[in-house]
């Protein structure tokens, strides 16, 4: 489990995060949602060990992040960032293979081809492997980066606890690939992976999340199991947007914004 306790981040006088507590458990998907500038990406960078909080701290399976080397961390935690500007003409296969970098000297390095093949299949990019990365569309690039993160986390025995952080992973994807990506995240739950995802689409959060945290101005508006947190009252409190809740014919809860006056 990754536990963030009492996390506050300040830049100058501005408080970006105010005493946030968050747990990411293997086998569960934790969603962070909130308006632009709420501190979602900042929180993710703290949990990823990239930014040191002003107060509070983060533990991974009982060990403070500061006591874990970059390499050790990278062997068990992968991060998909919002955009990646890669202008050099790597092939897609080479980009995905970079996900194995933390495992270079590890005994399971012989499994690299298996890891890369599985990641490519899950991200639906097998047909792109020989293409050059800069020639891909935005959505294809996002899927390649997703495959790289999957390759990084791949482990021969699925039992090791691992964590996948996704910052707006569906922002450039078409409808079908949005679902495919989150289906993969859901499948990873069965391989002791804990997923942390920042999503803007409340309906995707409702369909795939186990837990949800709503952030606004660096504060936690609401947190808990998705079914409890996600209702019109909390959504309006977080986003200043009225929504109607409906139930689809298949029994899915769907949120539709009211017309804004």
């Amino acid at each position: 489990m990754i536990e963030g306790r009492d996390i506050s981040v300040e830049i100058g006088r501005r408080r970006l995060l105010d005493q946030i507590n968050i747990d990411i458990e293997p086998g569960r998907i934790m969603i962070i949602a909130g308006p632009n500038g709420a501190g979602k990406s900042t929180l993710m960078s703290v949990l990823a060990g990239e930014r040191v909080p002003a107060t509070g701290g983060v533990m991974m399976d009982g060990v403070p992040l500061s006591a874990i080397s970059h390499r050790q961390l990278a062997m068990r935690r992968a991060v998909l960032l919002q955009q990646s500007a890669l202008d050099f003409a790597f092939t897609v296969a080479e980009v995905v293979a970079l996900g194995r970098l933390p495992h270079v000297d590890a005994p399971d390095v012989a499994d690299d081809p298996a890891a890369i093949a599985q990641a490519a299949a899950r991200a639906d990019i097998q047909h792109l492997m020989a293409r050059h990365y800069p020639t891909l569309s935005g959505g294809e690039k996002q899927r390649v980066q997703f495959a790289r993160a999957l390759a990084q986390l791949w482990h021969r025995d699925g039992g090791t606890r691992r964590y996948l952080f996704l910052d707006e992973p569906t922002s450039a994807l078409d409808l079908r690939h949005q679902r495919l990506l989150l289906n993969v995240a859901a499948a990873l739950k069965g391989e002791s992976v804990g997923v942390l995802a920042i999503l803007h689409d409340i309906n995707l959060a409702a369909a795939y999340g186990d837990d949800l945290m709503l952030l606004r101005d660096g504060r936690c508006v609401a947190a808990g199991p998705v079914d409890e947190v996600l209702n019109p009252v909390e959504i309006e409190a977080c986003f200043d947007l009225g929504v109607e809740m409906m139930t689809s014919a298949q029994g899915q809860r769907v949120f539709v914004p009211r017309l804004m006056s």
Binding site: E50, S69, D87, E94, V104
Partner: protein
């Protein structure tokens, strides 16, 4: 650039790189032999081989090869490799295919040191009789190169950002340029001429003594850069991405920076400023091999050495019995290529 390699089939991925490295190796050997054989006195490949193994009875041939041409050719290889590898590594670090070793201040710092030694030479040799006047310019140029790099690094250190490293390099370049200008202003005609020739680069002064210094400093630095090849690949994805892949980015930057500064610093100190090898060579290698550093770094070492050997041969024979500064040759050939690269770059963005 990309159009040419777009059709590179995936199945060739593992075969092609080795072929390229072998070809570059052959090119290097061919350039090396050619460089030894041409000049005021033409020497055939057989005589060169005999001289190299001390089997020739012709003492003139033996001494031309062993005392003049061999150290000069070796220096060209070491310098070309240093410029090529450092250029490739810094381009990776800055994630910019147009970056040049000069960006971190190494050339302008060396120029300042060199002009300082040339203008104040007479006074300095009185104070420091230990250095013969022969070594004054290289020692000062090397000190200047390292000092400028150190200043750049310290400017960027507080935030550790790559953009700041680049801006710091620009600032230090400007400052060193201004100080160099003062020395040039204060110099007499002879000193001005000396400095002008130094700043165009030349391998004419290359000898065994220089190699005894250059080789033990350059090779370990280049080796250390080579061991960072995979981390440099990750840096191309982005600094944050590299970090999340387990690369200690701060440490990597420092290591690449120091090794490049040492390798380029020693080459500038001994041979002067040799333009465009550092920026053009890695580019050429990437055209064929793609951007993976495990190929780009050794490829740049070999191509850099080969190109500098060829440029130096051209410099020696084109206006014989005089010779052109080799930096002039590389700049004259390199800058049109660089302009072409820039124009291509625009059409792709």
């Amino acid at each position: 650039m990309r159009a040419a390699v777009l059709t590179r089939p995936a199945s060739d991925l593992w075969r092609r790189p080795e072929t390229l490295l072998v070809m570059l190796g052959l090119l290097l050997v061919a350039s090396f032999v050619m460089s030894l054989s041409i000049g005021a006195m033409a020497i055939g490949p057989v005589d060169i081989l005999l001289s190299l193994f001390g089997l020739t009875s012709d003492h003139t041939v033996a001494s031309v090869v062993m005392e003049l041409r061999l150290p000069r050719a070796l220096m060209a290889v070491v310098t070309g490799a240093a410029l090529g590898v450092s250029g490739a590594a810094l381009q990776g670090l800055f994630r910019n295919p147009l970056a040049d070793p000069g960006l971190i201040g190494v050339s302008s710092g060396a120029a300042l040191g060199a002009v300082c030694a040339i203008v104040l030479g007479a006074t300095l040799t009185l104070w420091l009789p230990l250095f013969g006047s022969r070594f004054l310019v290289p020692v000062f140029a090397f000190a200047g190169a390292l000092a400028a790099c150190l200043a750049t690094q310290m400017l960027a250190r507080r935030h550790g950002s790559t953009a700041l490293l680049l801006l710091g390099g620009i600032a230090i370049n400007a400052l060193a340029g201004a100080m160099t200008g003062f020395f040039v202003y204060a110099s007499n005609d002879n000193q001005l001429r000396d400095f002008t020739f130094w700043s165009m680069g030349s391998l004419a002064a290359a000898g065994w003594q220089g190699l005894y210094i250059a080789v033990p400093m350059t090779l370990p630095a280049l080796y250390l850069i080579w061991t960072s090849a995979r981390s440099l690949d990750a840096m191309l994805l982005g600094e944050r991405e590299a970090r999340h892949l387990g690369v200690d980015v701060v440490w990597l930057k420092r290591r690449i920076f120091i090794c490049s500064a040492l390798a380029v610093g020693i080459s500038v100190a001994l041979c002067g400023v040799i333009a465009f090898v550092g920026v053009v060579v890695p580019h050429l290698v990437r055209l064929v091999a793609g951007p993976a550093h495990r190929l780009v770094l050794p490829g740049s070492a070999m191509l850099g050495g080969a190109l500098l050997l060829l440029a130096d041969s051209l410099a020696r024979v084109s206006v014989a019995p005089a010779e052109l500064p080799v930096g002039l040759v590389t700049a004259a050939l390199g800058s049109p290529f660089f302009i072409w690269l820039l124009m291509r770059q625009r059409s792709f963005s």
